[in-house]
Symmetry: C2
Subunit: 192 residues, 2 copies
């Protein structure tokens, strides 16, 4: 068994031993809201936003982007499980600002190994074969953090499946300070 | 300002005031692994799996499904940020087992308001107009929990962009006990 697998299972055993009454929590989020944010390891949405188990839906992907899949999740979140307010939260120092589709497709065409970034940009030291499959994938990288929040709030707002009464709040999380920073243009675009 | 927005910002202020040295954390996950799980409000991945800020990528969507977007995120996770092991974790009592595409499309065609589930199944009490847009969306619901974990591990394993050396561990989380339960067939399918 890998060290990580062992550690995760041992942490889980500890958690489940002290589970208390959390087994009685209902399925729908008790505080009726959802957060869409990045998969970044430095973000702990529960701590960042003050969530206890049972409070809120949390959707995460690379970048916290308003992908079709994130919108699928948000639609299920309100239509079947009653959330009424949504947050879109990107963050500073995001990995999504370090590449674009061309770079990623080029790296993956050379090898499937992990690349490294240096002064000259990304370098692939891996051995092939790579794959051309990445030509069929949009990786949803971005260059401008605040702009990316605005665009994602706008994309959710525009979905024909999203009721206009749901407010969508646009923020970014500053990984240096732990602070949520409002993006005024996104807040405007997300108004109910 | 909504009560939820106020509460989230106040919790965040408290968190950032006690941020300590977390501002120094590096971008790549220090424990080199990623978790794909459900957006369900009862799941706190950090507590469930023993994560501190900076440890691991966490990807979440409705069901914890291996959607194209989840695979996009996993590919970025290993190729650019060096994760080496992945967990797919679905859970008991998942909302995704309470409907299918037909039900969801029918509900959304009637109204965009929240539906309720009773003895006779889902009922829409909302006022229209609804939207036919849901015909273009696969909501990725499932009927069999363990089967869904197997299928998602298999789908990730089959991706031409996923190196065969990455082990993919298949589990479900029991929301009544807080325990991670291994899905043997998924573990087999996810072997490196």
């Amino acid at each position: 068994m890998s060290k990580i697998l062992e550690e995760v299972l041992s942490a889980n055993e500890h958690y489940s031993k002290n589970f208390g009454k959390k087994g009685d929590l209902a399925l729908p989020p008790s505080r009726h809201f959802a957060i869409l944010t990045c998969m970044d390891a430095r973000i702990d949405p529960a701590k960042m936003a003050g969530l206890s188990e049972g409070d809120a839906h949390v959707i995460r992907n690379a970048g916290g982007r308003a992908s079709d899949d994130a919108i699928r999740s948000l639609v299920i979140s309100y239509k079947l499980l009653g959330t009424k307010e949504w947050f879109v939260i990107h963050h500073s120092d995001c990995g999504m600002m370090l590449f674009d589709d061309d770079i990623m497709r080029n790296l993956l065409s050379k090898s499937l190994d992990t690349a490294t970034i240096g002064a000259k940009g990304w370098e692939d030291h891996g051995k092939g074969p790579g794959s051309k499959e990445a030509s069929y994938v949009s990786f949803l990288a971005f260059k401008d953090l605040e702009r990316s929040v605005v665009e994602d709030v706008q994309r959710i707002r525009r979905s024909p499946l999203v009721p206009s009464r749901i407010p969508i709040y646009g923020f970014y999380y500053d990984v240096k300070t732990g602070k949520l920073v409002e993006v005024p243009e996104a807040m405007k675009a997300g108004k109910a």
